[in-house]
């Protein structure tokens, strides 16, 4: 035996080695995200919703979109009741366009809901058509509020924003003061470049 050498019993060496291995394992578990997540899957599993809960979320989202749609159409209808400065035909045209826009926004919102739920092309179209038919003009005002999943809430929040913008734009157009009448065309005005047969008296075949 060499002089100055430290002699350890075999059992002590085994014990120290085992201790070091356990320590290293614990450090790996503590530091490595993969190992930590593997443990977490057993000790702290993630809850997932049942199909019924998902259906409830879907219905609540559709109804929220519908409430936004009806709120916007309701605002539009209230403005239409007023005596507007613009001609009735112009008001009707603006309102019709706004209603078409609002229906389009609702359609897109329902498409977004369907695609977030994992539906693809043929089923997605069928879902949107069925949902639009089912929603109709119902208000669903007595619904019990449901806290929506973040992605579904994002669809509702975006749709509400677009409904409001479309409605506001239409209301602005409906309530604006009529533009100043164009200057009365004098008989000496040159013919319109459009070449319309009813352009001006001076363009008439009689050639005054």
């Amino acid at each position: 035996m060499r002089e100055g050498a430290i002699v350890l019993p075999f059992r002590t060496v085994i014990g120290i080695a085992a201790g070091v291995v356990v320590l290293l394992l614990l450090i790996v578990i503590g530091i490595q995200p993969g190992a930590r997540e593997a443990i977490a899957r057993v000790t702290d599993p993630r809850t997932t919703a049942s199909q019924a809960a998902l259906e409830q979320q879907r219905t609540a989202t559709e109804h929220a979109v519908q409430r936004g749609y009806l709120k916007a159409t309701g605002q539009l209808a209230e403005v239409r009741k007023l005596t507007l400065a613009i001609p009735a035909s112009q008001a009707a045209s603006i309102a019709d366009k706004a209603l078409a826009d609002l229906r389009g926004i609702r359609h897109d919102a329902l498409t977004a809901v369907g695609s977030r739920l994992g539906l693809i092309a043929p089923q997605l179209d069928a879902y949107v058509t069925a949902a639009e038919t089912q929603l109709g003009e119902n208000a669903f005002a007595d619904d019990k509020p449901v806290l929506l999943a973040p992605d579904l809430y994002a669809v509702v929040a975006r749709a509400d924003d677009l409904f409001q913008r479309a409605s506001d734009a239409a209301i602005r157009e409906l309530t604006k003061a009529p533009s100043a009448p164009p200057p009365t065309p004098s008989p000496t005005v040159r013919p319109s470049p459009s070449g319309s047969p009813t352009a001006t008296p001076s363009a008439s075949p009689s050639g005054r």
Binding site: T47, G118, P150, L152, V156
Partner: protein, 134 residues
């Protein structure tokens, strides 16, 4: 007079070593009595903000770590029907990666979210949506 002698090797092997290993395990692994159910925490901050997620206590650190984070957003302007909407952290402009450090001195309270709560129901539904992280 009888004298008590302590076998230091025995104490080291059967008392100190298991105690150290147990302490390290307790830091890494939660108590077995809580296994099998999700432990979602609500971290309520002094400024009124609340964050929901999986809490990881970092020992000897001035911060806690929250993963898989959700928070409330003002939803009074929407037609959801509730004054608050739930948002998943990660969609902000700086697109934070998962894992949020919160200073301990800014925390008012930490509570465990109930398993039947609307918050956990909404998060559970979110996890079922295709493409959403579980």
């Amino acid at each position: 007079m009888k004298r008590w002698s302590v076998d230091r090797i025995w104490v080291g092997r059967f008392v100190i070593a298991p105690a150290l290993i147990g302490a390290l395990l307790a830091l890494a692994i939660p108590a077995p009595t809580t296994w099998g159910t999700e432990r979602l925490s609500a971290v309520l901050l002094l400024d009124g903000q609340a964050y929901f997620g999986h809490l990881r206590e970092v020992p000897w650190s001035g911060t806690i770590e929250l993963r898989d984070v959700y928070y409330f957003q003002d939803a009074r302007g929407t037609t959801e029907g509730l004054p608050l909407g739930l948002v998943r952290r990660g969609g902000e402009l700086h697109q934070p990666l998962d894992g949020m450090q919160i200073r301990r001195d800014k925390i008012l309270a930490i509570e465990q979210v109930g398993n039947a709560s609307p918050v956990l129901a909404a998060i559970a539904a979110q996890r079922m949506l295709p493409g959403a992280p579980r």
